[in-house]
Symmetry: C2
Subunit: 243 residues, 2 copies
């Protein structure tokens, strides 16, 4: 079905088609389509733009990635389809590793997503044939790569399941979460919560990484001056005012 | 994939699986999965319950259906999968017609959804081989049944596209909309807006139909005392307070 160009929500409808197409090609789990819809609603409430508290969290995330010893970007189907290239550009900028890690895990989808990402760079993408386990998560949700998420000190997740975020935090890792729902467990439990749409958030993080990477002192100050729960409160205030 | 029973969002995950299964059987368009996700977010903000302004709109809708000459319930894939039996029970209680009407229309899906509904009753369901047109809507979004939506004075829609709601209102019909997003065009343009989850809303409307159907005077009063924009404001207040 062709989307009528004069539809007021044309851009949003085209993004949906992109995800539907990815689902048909086996890149996305059908649950990924539902998850996208959830995000759409919250983005609606944000006015579909990066609000100031989100920008602040993006800057703090850039600083935290730069300040970590073994940061890893965790990628699922939705993120790869919508923002695969930005993920690779961010990994190159920091630099850090990228791991495909799926809630509805199948080796076939892991491979497809990894290939999709590898098309943007020579960087090897982790996640295939992973054998390590995040403690306290049942199979197959707990599977991760020994050299990736398992040994990371900081993990950036986007559109992540609450159980998995909590399990990562319990292992003592710092978790940066990109999620449009400020109320979900992932947003509530993350070390830094970025309430923004993933295609807007990643370029902003890259921008801040480029700016902070030559300045360790400013990087340190950026982390120290950031308070996640305070920032989440500010964010909620934005949504409340939009209603 | 089996959903872990101990997952805090088990019920919500099972509903998603039900929709995914319906998609795989060709009942649902993939865009229906995304639409469900959008609803989930707003339901989250409502606390996943029928709030008082929603109950008021449900009662007013019951009254309006009873007071109409040719009311029609318009059904799409999501509504049929989640609340097909309630739709039929409501149609019997009023009584009124049921028409399958799809944004992403294919005759095959129309038939599958009609069959799904007809399993609950002997009532014939409209929508197959429809030839009439809602004015100002391009093909195939404007197609509807001559004996159903086209000649209806009141149409109940659920999870409906904004363009279509506006087009129905422009023809002078009263539109009752069930939609979890109070900000979308469907909610803003409908005659009566029910901001509630469809499986909760329909049984409440049936309840009020049963109560009002023997009392035309009370039915009339219920309609006259209902102010949709005022009610929507109250609803927004609920969401604002939940944040």
């Amino acid at each position: 079905m062709k989307i009528p160009k004069d539809h007021p929500r044309y851009r949003s409808l085209v993004t949906r088609e992109k995800l539907v197409e990815a689902y048909k090609q086996g890149v996305l789990a059908p649950e990924g389509l539902i998850a996208h819809g959830r995000g759409e609603s919250f983005d609606y409430l944000l006015g579909e733009k990066t609000v100031p508290p989100a920008e602040k969290a993006e800057r703090a995330s850039a600083a935290m990635l730069l300040n970590s010893k073994r940061p890893v970007l965790s990628v699922n189907g939705n993120v790869a389809v919508l923002a695969g290239e930005s993920i690779i550009r961010l990994a190159e900028a920091v630099p850090c590793k990228v791991e495909v890690n799926l809630f509805h895990r199948t080796e076939e989808r892991i491979s497809k997503i990894a290939e999709l990402l590898e098309a943007f760079s020579d960087m090897p993408v982790l996640g295939r044939n992973a054998t390590a386990r995040i403690p306290d998560l049942d199979q197959p949700r707990g599977i991760c790569d020994q050299k990736g998420i398992f040994s990371a000190d900081t993990v950036l997740v986007a559109l992540e399941d609450g159980d998995r975020t909590e399990a990562l935090v319990r292992t003592g890792k710092d978790v940066i979460a990109i999620d449009l729902n400020p109320l979900c467990r992932t947003s509530q439990k993350a070390t830094i919560t970025i309430v923004d749409e993933v295609t807007r958030a990643l370029p902003r993080i890259i921008y801040h990484v480029e700016e902070l990477k030559e300045n360790p002192k400013l990087t340190q100050e950026t982390i120290c001056s950031f308070d996640n729960s305070e920032n989440l409160q500010e964010l909620m205030e934005y949504i409340r005012n939009s209603l």
